[in-house]
């Protein structure tokens, strides 16, 4: 059905093009809101729509003023700093704990595998607002609410399920006899891990890490609940901005976020190809 067969009748033709049009409209719906904010963020005026000058592509209608505002405004700069103070640390924590646990979980001898997996995956399944409320109550009870480490712990907990899922998926295609071969040649468990297992599951580790990173980087509800105003992150600042006085700076930030996600997407695609090539033994 990729193309029309030569014997297609009028009805087939009609359906073929109607179907493609419908799909085109849905793709348009998916991508249009993201594309439209990019030119809007260069608007020289404080308007949320295209001015006539912008449509006529006059250079004077475009400006970098909203990006300048983002780079000079102390609130946004603090938010940016906080985001990069929180997300990488939370990611390292969840990747470290998650990778070790995923190796244990993939062992055929793991006791209570199903129940343990359910517990480890649960942060992904419970709606965020419930996790956030629960964490807020519990963290204030043990007295860490409103601190930097409370946010790190919460974000690391939210990120680990993704690490577990991607790494166990990678390990499912992992040939256990390689470990035995390494042991046979005299490598200890740690050496085996770093020189045999690690390189093979690395794509899974990195993509799990990216998932964990974006979970933390893009998270508002939990950080708003367990963090203090000193921990305002980029999305939190955007949330506040959208609720109080919406400015075009938010669109500039959103455009930067889109650029970041394009980078992530490319990285993941490269990793996917690499891992496919490794598993099948030929370049993909």
């Amino acid at each position: 059905m990729a193309g029309l067969p030569p014997y297609a009748n009028l009805g087939n033709h009609l359906w073929f093009y109607t179907f493609r049009t419908i799909c085109f409209l849905i793709f348009f719906f998916l991508i249009f809101p993201i594309l439209v904010i990019i030119p809007l963020s260069f608007n020289a005026q404080q308007l949320f729509t295209f001015t006539t000058d912008m449509l006529m592509l006059k250079p004077s209608a475009y400006s970098f003023m909203h990006y300048e505002d983002f780079l000079t405004n102390s609130d946004w700069q603090r938010a940016l700093r906080n985001s990069f103070r929180i997300a990488p640390v939370a990611t390292i924590l969840s990747v470290t704990l998650g990778t070790i646990a995923a190796i244990g979980l993939s062992s055929p001898k793991m006791p209570f595998r199903k129940a343990v997996t359910a517990v480890l995956i649960s942060p992904m399944i419970v709606p965020l607002i419930i996790s956030a409320a629960g964490m807020y109550f519990f963290y204030s009870k043990i007295g860490i609410s409103g601190t930097y480490w409370a946010v790190i712990l919460a974000h690391a907990a939210l990120g680990t399920p993704f690490v577990i899922i991607t790494i166990t998926a990678t390990l499912a295609g992992f040939d256990q006899s390689l470990v035995r071969a390494a042991a046979n040649m005299g490598a200890g468990p740690i050496r085996t891990f770093f020189s045999v297992q690690m390189p093979l599951i690395l794509p899974g580790v990195i993509s799990g890490g990216l998932f964990a990173f974006i979970t933390s980087f893009d998270e508002v509800v939990v950080v708003k609940f367990v963090g203090s105003p000193a921990e305002v992150t980029l999305p939190w600042q955007m949330f506040t901005g959208l609720r109080e006085q919406i400015s075009l700076t938010i669109l500039a930030v959103a455009t930067i976020m889109v650029a970041i996600s394009i980078c992530l997407l490319i990285t993941l695609e490269i990793l996917r190809r690499r891992s496919e090539a490794m598993r099948t033994g030929r370049p993909g």
């Binding site: 998916l30 244990g104 907990a157 949330f239």
Partner: protein, 424 residues
């Protein structure tokens, strides 16, 4: 076979050190099991502390009433003897116990907390407690205390106040759940709140039907796209997949702000409609801050979560089945409906449960684009946690939502089987 030999006496296979091979094997297996468990243990512990305990803490908090029997320790012991159907107010003993409790509580500044706790159930108690707390030191404990209470504020003569104290003197309460379901536990049993005070049932209902609508919309938009992606050659489908993955990886806030900007009265969509003369310039559409805004934005945000599981299932369906049906004389529609569609069920199930569960717990997007008519129960939970500080009610609302989610999982597991859920 150099490291094992047959034991001449028993016929058992022995390892090099002379122990039976079975024992040795069992030891090795135990070591492997221990090793696997040790690897998982740190994360398990971490999740138990940082995530599972908070959830259980919330569940407990939704029924926790320890504060009242702790602070009103003497009162809660004797108030059980009072029967509201016989006398309107408790007798002197209860008043005395209450006065003693209050004297201790005011020193520890606990009486206002109990007051605001009981105020959730009966309005006016908080201010009554505050007022009495200020006066209690002037009371003469050698005289009967009941008249002094009544002289200070005749509210202490109201049966309802004492009934509330009696009802909530236990260490566990269902009060928050009643409040979360727009019920009231009165002396005559549990009854619905008056029409104009109900809010949570309506919000639960709205959360439910809007989530179902969003799931349905996502499904009807995702199915054609996933189908197209599955039948196209790898090269073009990979290219089109970018259009799905880019929104998926783009920050939630970026997408929400895009919709906030697009749907404004002076936004791009209204401008285009006016330009095309589809709507008059003075009759711009209200597209945002209502349920329409929430539905459009959330459908857009959750659509990739539906496309990806559908696509991953559809890709594995061999096209030869449909061709076989066609060659056996089935019409195009029959071959699709009877042959193709049933094979996509597991993908549909996975996508729908994913989108539905994400939708009912959504907070950010409804809060920002939903206005008054498009917010979900989540925004009330956030309000009670962060603003009104009625944590018990927030916990009860959250617990109800959690129970709802678990019921959906359970139903899904019964109907489709949870193992069929694939991510991406």
């Amino acid at each position: 076979m150099s490291d094992q030999e047959l034991s001449p006496s028993t016929g058992l296979v022995l390892a090099a050190d002379g122990t039976p091979l079975k024992t040795k094997l069992r030891q090795a297996e135990r070591a492997q099991r221990l090793r696997a468990a040790m690897l998982v243990a740190p994360l398990l512990l971490f999740i138990l502390v940082t995530f599972v305990s908070p959830i259980f803490d919330m569940l407990y908090r939704s029924v926790d009433n320890q504060l009242v029997p702790d602070v009103l320790a003497n009162t809660s012991k004797v108030i059980g003897d009072w029967d509201a159907s016989k006398t309107d107010t408790p007798d002197e003993a209860v008043f005395r116990a209450f006065a003693e409790d209050l004297l201790v509580a005011t020193k520890a500044r606990q009486h206002t907390r109990v007051g605001s706790r009981l105020n959730y159930e009966t309005a006016g108690i908080s201010s009554l407690f505050r007022k009495t707390g200020r006066q209690i030191k002037k009371f003469d404990f050698d005289q009967p205390l009941k008249p002094q209470f009544l002289a200070m504020d005749d509210k202490w003569g109201e049966t309802e106040i004492w009934q509330t104290i009696k009802r909530f003197s236990g260490s566990l309460t269902m009060g928050y759940y009643y409040a979360a379901l727009d019920l009231k536990n009165t002396a005559d049993g549990v009854e619905m709140l008056p029409e104009n005070q109900r809010q949570y049932l309506m919000l639960f209902w709205r959360t439910l039907w809007m989530s179902m609508l969003i799931t349905g919309l996502c499904f009807s938009l995702a199915f054609p796209v996933a189908y197209l992606l599955a039948i196209l050659p790898m090269k073009s489908s990979n290219l089109l997949m970018i259009l799905v993955l880019l929104p998926f990886w783009t920050s939630l806030l970026a997408r929400t702000s895009a919709w906030k900007v697009l749907l404004q009265r002076e936004g791009v969509i209204n401008d285009t409609l006016v330009f095309l003369r589809l709507v008059p310039a003075d009759g711009r559409l209200e597209l945002i801050n209502n349920s329409f805004g929430t539905i459009v934005a959330m459908t857009h945000i959750l659509l990739p979560f539906m496309i990806m599981p559908l696509f991953s299932v559809m890709r594995t369906i061999p096209p030869s089945y449909v061709r076989a049906a066609r060659s056996l004389g089935a019409t195009e529609f029959t071959s699709f409906w009877r042959i193709y569609f049933p094979q996509t069920i597991s993908g549909i199930g996975a996508g729908c449960i994913l989108v539905f569960i994400l939708a009912i717990g959504y907070y950010i997007t409804p809060e920002l684009v939903g206005g008054r008519t498009g917010v979900f129960i989540s925004s009330r939970i956030a309000y009670h946690v962060l603003s009104s500080l009625n944590w018990g009610l927030a916990a009860a609302l959250g617990s109800l939502l959690l129970i709802g989610v678990l019921v959906v999982y359970w139903l899904y597991d019964r109907i489709v089987g949870i193992d069929n859920v694939k991510l991406g």
